[in-house]
Amino acid sequence: MYDFPATLAARGVDLAPLPLATLQLNVTKLCNQACVHCHVDASPRRREMMPDDVLERCLELLELHPSITTLDITGGAPELHPRFRDLVSGARRLGRTVMVRHNLTVTLDPHPLTKASLADLPDYFAAQRVEVVSSLPYYQEFFTDKQRGDGVFKKSLASLRMLNERGFGVSGTGLKLSLVYNPVGAFLPAAQKDLERDYKRELQSRFGVVFNELFTITNMPIHRFKAQLKKAGGYEAYMDKLVQAFNPDAARGVMCRSLINVSWDGRLFDCDFNQMLGMPAMEGGQALTVFDFDLERLRRREIAVAAHCFGCTAGAGSSCGGATT
């Protein structure tokens, strides 16, 4: 019914891989939050952690392949992994751009397992000059707390101020702070540039908070969000909306063409949505892992697609870096 390959073919879009620029790691499913839209199903109860051999291999891959310019670390809350800082520091020593998908509240909450404080994270991020990418579903409390839980908005603002104080998002420092918007329900994001303007105006005037860029991301119809849609009887209507909004230009810019995602246990995927749906990158009927990693062979792979891919190709497009057009 929602035939993504047929749509690509009918609209003349070839989803061939491009040179790999980003290695994205989901290092853990443990998180201090349990958001209603989370496609990873992350929560304080999850225990999956990337083991040492996988983590070391990922650093080795960066060393072997200078063309992979960016390490994108996500989770769960990646900072809760016991070797998170080894990973960041190792990649920075190799001269890579390191992006951390940082949920803001993890700085202020105790570690769910060890109860240790992570309040020094902003200082660590500044010392390592990582790029901080943080979800803030809206510039008002209502939408943010509805999606991420009561009290998250106020905590996020406190954490954003800590980052601003270290220079993140502040013009001239070179310390980059990006925010991520995703709709609180079954609708597409507004134009990225319009929302960015609103966020900048409102966050600065109401709360004195600054940042560099806003990324708009479409809600993927998988896992918790799909269950929520099904419960409300809106799954088909949402899928129809995504299919109707298919944009060939957005499809050409999707992230799976230039990114490889690695699960906590070392398997390779075209994106983390595929990871969550159990659709690994395959070769000869075998699921690939970081230990099979071969850049040239990966360049010839066929990107695995399914109905959820309509989420990345609707409207202005959606990726971990926001709109794709």
Binding site: Y138, Q140, P183, F187
Partner: protein, 112 residues
């Protein structure tokens, strides 16, 4: 019949052109130009106006469609609710300002 207005029926709107294709095409062209493009007003502003009109004229199809359109053009529930209050206030004002006619009639009849 459970409900006279079914949300899925909105998708059948174009069928209204069954016996008047050209008129319907002209309508859709005009409608899309007036409501669906940035002009002197942005699409966001137009969506808020359309949401207010939808409430004033009590069209369930339009309320559904423009609630979505307002969200997808970047408005938030606070702004959308203010738009509905503008419609409500206008309707109240329009009712009340007709009291002037009543006052005139009372005067004519020597009752004021």
């Amino acid at each position: 019949m459970t409900s006279y207005y079914e949300p899925k029926d909105l998708a059948k709107f174009a069928e209204v052109g069954h016996f008047a294709k050209e008129s319907m095409e002209k309508f859709f062209s005009y409608y899309n130009q007036a409501t669906g493009q940035d002009g002197a007003l942005t699409r966001r502003e137009k969506a808020l106006i359309a949401l207010a009109v939808s409430h004033a004229l009590k069209c369930p199809y339009c309320i559904d469609a423009y609630t979505t359109q307002c969200l997808e053009t970047g408005s938030n529930p606070e702004q959308m609710t203010e738009a509905v209050h503008v419609a409500a206030a206008m309707q109240a004002g329009i009712t009340l300002v007709h009291g002037v006619q009543m006052q005139n009639a009372l005067r004519e009849k020597g009752a004021l």
